[in-house]
Amino acid sequence: MLILSRKPGQSFKINDNISITIVDISGDKVKIGIDAPKEMKVLRSELIDTMEQNKIAAVSVTDRQFLEMLAKPKQKP
């Protein structure tokens, strides 16, 4: 992986049409500005992960025995 060091206000380019600017750093958060053509999708990786999990969840099996066991965990002596 290419690793660059940048200060707030500095930027870099990917190809000719994507420009990334470090807007601000405070604590453990970095604000990043992205200038890219409209048709280019920019998604946070946790959003893509969530989307994938949702798609798997929608085809999950319904095993009632399992769900019952899950819902009533500590009832048997």
């Binding site: 992960d49 949702n54 099996v61 095993d63 399992f66």
Partner: protein, 146 residues
């Protein structure tokens, strides 16, 4: 009204039991209307989030307290405005379960809970800023395992 469901056959649902997603379930943007179904044999800690638009679309939601007692994500001001109609705090927090054939490998997404305001019947899937796992094991270590 009557709706067809994936796991409960045809059921009747009153209009005020319809939950509308103000922000979509990611990947299912075209589906906004759902209803919650619970199974008396299973109790209140697991519910079915059944699409009203598509009988085959259904998610199993789990009370996050089953997974972690400490789980208490905060609703941002923006989200509060989006979900709450009367400023009443009736927001329920659920997490989506992923249950594979080998159900011991089931997980829940603690990073992106489903928040439902029961007074306004508005809901959203919210990706939290806080560090929670997207694939948290549903079963505690040891439980249900060999």
């Amino acid at each position: 009204m009557k709706i067809k469901t994936r796991d409960f056959g045809e059921i009747s649902v009153s209009p005020d039991a319809i939950i509308r997603f103000k922000l979509p379930i990611y990947g299912f943007e075209q589906y906004t209307d759902f209803t919650l179904i619970s199974d008396p044999n299973i109790g209140g800690s697991i519910v079915w989030l059944q699409s009203v638009q598509d009988p085959d679309l259904c998610f199993i939601l789990v009370d996050p307290k089953l997974v972690s007692e400490e789980y208490s994500p905060k609703l941002s001001d923006d989200m509060e405005k989006l979900l709450r109609s009367k400023g009443i705090n009736e927001t329920e927090i659920w997490v989506i379960a992923v249950i594979p054939q080998e159900f011991r490998k089931s997980t829940v997404n603690l990073k992106s809970p489903i928040m439902i305001d029961m007074s306004s019947k508005s809901a959203a899937q919210i990706i939290l800023d806080e560090d929670y796992p997207i694939r948290a094991p549903l079963l505690p270590a040891g439980k249900g395992r060999d």
